[in-house]
């Protein structure tokens, strides 16, 4: 059965979509955004020094916001997860490898899933020493619990990104291990990500040929908008792509790609529709005002085209599908990477998310070929 046929069946009988999904599919995908987590925080105890385990259990995580345990913007469903993503034994979504195989890896034809641990990781914690210890622990944990047991999973090098030197050391330690596919930031760093304090990270990543991924979220201490804290989760959620825009503008205009020509950057979970407009805007104003930013020597569009990859989820849904295909064309067919965001609620189904009418060769690039080339898979 071809993918297009599967699409037709799904569209015609949504009620049977689940059954259809379990059928073998023609093609496999590389999923550039899968979220593993712990069953309970105790899963990390073996990887933390006593001092830091005690700190964790005493004070907890301390990102730059006011809620001790919950997110400041309550989600619209428990743990922002698909309702069917809890394991039969009650293990929370993304924490039970056996169930993830059965529920996700096998039915969706995932040849490789790149893990993006989000919580708990200690990234962006107010206590930088705790952040260093936690991120190191999370990297060990990913190996033991996921990648060494399941070759379809690749890990991310989670770094304490507010300390550039400590992050570079973590990259040095991990980059030689084939289980790690990329370095992982959350998008909302405490200063724009192109600033010099983060350059040791880019230097280490470029040196080792490991892409740097920026995943949305993180609490920088700054509101998601320059006009202040929004009221609603939908505003915060929609605002993530604005944070991605700020990150790309900073990387380009600070001259990061000029300084580190081998650097490759992956933007995750901000969608991609915003990227052409940002590129045009950067080009237009750089043409007039470029003298202010000597580190950015070429039109911004050139750096973006050469250095930025971007994942598809949560995919834009314009009223006219042709607009989506046009947007992909503007970005470049070799720069889009498929992602599901499993097990989260806004999961993109590999069989349904990409627009109908996509050229099959371009579809294959997005589903797997671009990621295989970027991450040097198989």
């Amino acid at each position: 059965m071809s993918l297009d046929t599967v699409d037709d069946v799904l569209v015609e009988s949504r009620g049977e979509a689940r059954a259809e999904r379990t059928r073998p599919v023609r093609s496999t995908i590389v999923d550039c955004d899968v979220h593993p987590t712990v069953r309970t925080a105790k899963d990390l105890e073996p990887y933390l020094a006593r001092r830091w385990w005690d700190h964790f259990t005493t004070y907890g995580l301390r990102p730059k916001h006011g809620n001790a345990t919950a997110d400041p913007y309550p989600k619209a469903q428990p743990r922002a997860a698909r309702r069917d993503a809890w394991a039969p034994n009650g293990d929370q979504p993304g924490s039970n490898l056996a169930f993830m195989r059965e529920h996700y890896l096998d039915p969706y034809g995932v040849e490789c899933g790149i893990l993006s641990p989000l919580n708990p990781t200690g990234q962006g914690d107010q206590n930088i020493d705790f952040s260093i210890a936690m991120t190191h622990a999370v990297n060990d944990w990913q190996l033991d619990v996921f990648t060494r047991l399941e070759p379809r999973f690749k890990a991310s090098i989670v770094i304490p990104y507010e300390d550039g030197e400590a992050s570079a050391r973590e990259i040095e330690l991990r980059a030689g291990t084939a289980d790690f596919a990329q370095v992982l930031f959350l998008t909302r760093t405490s200063e724009p990500i192109g600033k010099r304090r983060y350059w040791p990270i880019f230097e280490a990543a470029a040196h080792h040929g490991v892409p740097v991924a920026l995943h949305v979220f993180g609490y920088s201490g700054h509101p998601v908008s320059g006009t202040g804290w929004p009221s609603y989760y939908i505003e915060e959620m929609t605002g993530h792509s604005a944070a991605c825009q700020a990150a790309v503008a900073s990387l380009v205009l600070e001259g990061v790609f000029e300084r580190f020509p081998e650097l490759k950057v992956v933007i995750i979970e901000g969608g991609f529709g915003w990227l052409p407009s940002l590129t045009w805007r950067l080009d237009r104003h750089w043409q007039k005002l470029g003298a202010e930013v000597p580190g950015c020597r070429r039109p911004p569009s050139e750096y973006i085209r050469e250095h930025i990859w971007i994942t598809t989820q949560p995919i834009e849904e314009p009223e006219d599908t042709a607009d989506l295909i046009q947007t992909m064309e503007w970005i470049g067919w070799d720069r889009l990477l498929f992602a599901t965001d499993y097990p989260h609620w806004d999961f993109d189904d590999p069989m349904r998310a990409l627009p109908r009418g996509l050229d099959p060769a371009n579809r294959r690039k997005i589903e797997a070929e671009n990621a295989r080339a970027l991450f040097k898979l198989g």
């Binding site: 619209a76 998008t187 909302r188 760093t189 405490s190 200063e191 724009p192 990500i193 600033k195 920088s220 700054h222 509101p223 998601v224 908008s225 320059g226 006009t227 202040g228 804290w229 929004p230 009221s231 609603y232 989760y233 939908i234 505003e235 959620m237 929609t238 605002g239 792509s241 604005a242 944070a243 825009q245 700020a246 990150a247 503008a249 900073s250 205009l253 969608g271 529709g273 915003w274 052409p276 407009s277 940002l278 045009w280 805007r281 237009r284 104003h285 007039k288 005002l289 202010e292 930013v293 949560p314 834009e316 849904e317 314009p318 009223e319 607009d323 046009q326 947007t327 609620w345 806004d346």
Partner: protein
């Protein structure tokens, strides 16, 4: 006048008169504040958003010998009406009222700017209209200022920076939007910040260029805020004009926002239509800066917006957006030019009814 690329009666919806310095405003302050300006040596509130000597702040050939531009009627009138043949222009004064922390001082300075506009611009050139500058730090004082100036029909909208104290959908601002709606005044949200906080979710950028590019993110947040809070349920007559915002970011933002609305509308159940439909009905955008790389892309973006009612002609004078002699790109079809230069502004601004047509003088 150059070859008529502009249709007759074109309304330029974003023009910036520049306050020459605090001395120009002193005559419009009351005795107490006049004394304070003197005694305290208050140097003024020119905004960091547009440093006068920065390249974007004024096109080189529109600057005077001292480098400054648009400080009085004459050069503006010459360029807009004599040179380009515009029929009218809306003055958006970007003096840094919203940066002021002392609420009383902010209100006094807002009154001074508005009275300066009335006396030294609107009274001298009848083709000018203006936006009421607001001390939006205090919604209460902003309402007072609207009520004070609203009887003067030459003021056709109210003006807010895209980055002020809080997102503009929040309830604290509703009395301001109520006053604006009551008087038939659209709300212009203009590029610029009170710099109460970093302008991005990642903190303060290094360059002015990056700051300017990043402004589009705040516009996205304001559209999100106004729609999410249900402002248009409460004020169905309110129109919002995104000014100097750029345009190309809007369709993709609306795809994302509308998709999120489908998934998350339980959180804002009063928003009963997809955001993209609400935005088509209530939001307008000024033309400059045109941030599409060419005419074909621009037209594609306008198609994506799905409405030809949304764009309003602007030059952003004296900001350096345009090069050459034409106020509007010649690749825009004549019908589109007429629509955005005349029909859309007239539909957006009910108070424009009495603007004399071009060439009256």
């Amino acid at each position: 006048m150059t070859e008529a690329i502009l249709p007759a009666g074109a309304i330029d919806c974003d023009v910036h008169p520049v306050v020459p310095g605090i001395a120009a405003l002193v005559p419009y302050l009351d005795a107490y504040w006049q004394e304070m300006i003197d005694v305290r040596g208050i140097e003024g509130f020119e905004s960091r958003a547009y440093p006068p000597m920065a390249p974007m702040s004024a096109r080189a050939d529109w600057r005077g010998p001292d480098g400054r531009a648009a400080e009085s009627v004459e050069p503006v009138r010459r360029q807009l009406f004599d040179q380009w043949g515009e029929g009218g222009a809306i003055l958006n004064c970007l003096y840094g009222i919203q940066t002021i922390h002392d609420l009383s001082l902010a209100a006094a300075m807002a009154r001074a700017v508005n009275d300066w506009l009335a006396a030294e611009w609107l009274a001298i050139e009848p083709r000018f209209r203006a936006s009421i500058v607001l001390p939006l730090q205090s919604p209460e004082l902003a309402v007072e200022e609207i009520e004070r100036r609203a009887a003067d029909k030459r003021f056709v909208q109210v003006l807010a920076l895209v980055m002020g104290e809080q997102p503009l959908g929040q309830r604290a601002y509703w009395p301001v939007w109520a006053a604006a709606e009551r008087h038939g005044l659209p709300l212009a949200i203009h590029t610029g910040s009170a710099y109460r906080r970093a302008i991005t979710a990642l903190g303060w950028p290094s360059s002015w260029l990056e700051d300017y590019v990043d402004q589009a993110q705040a516009f996205q947040a304001q559209v999100g805020s106004l729609v999410s809070h249900g402002v248009f349920n409460r004020f169905p007559g309110l129109k919002v004009v995104l000014s100097e915002s750029g345009i190309t970011w809007l369709p993709a933002f609306l795809w994302r926002f509308s998709k999120n609305w489908r998934g998350l509308r339980i959180e804002i159940p009063w928003v009963e239509r997809p955001p993209i439909e609400i935005v088509r009905d209530h939001f307008r955008l000024t033309l400059q800066p045109i941030d599409a790389p060419d005419g074909a892309t621009f037209e594609r973006i306008i198609d994506q917006l799905g409405s030809d009612e949304m764009l309003l002609f602007s030059t952003d004078y004296p900001h350096w957006q345009l090069d050459g002699d034409q106020p509007m790109p010649d690749w825009l079809p004549a019908g589109t030019r007429r629509k955005i230069a005349v029909d859309n502004p007239r539909a957006t601004y009910p108070r424009l009814g009495e603007v004399p047509s071009g060439g009256d003088r």
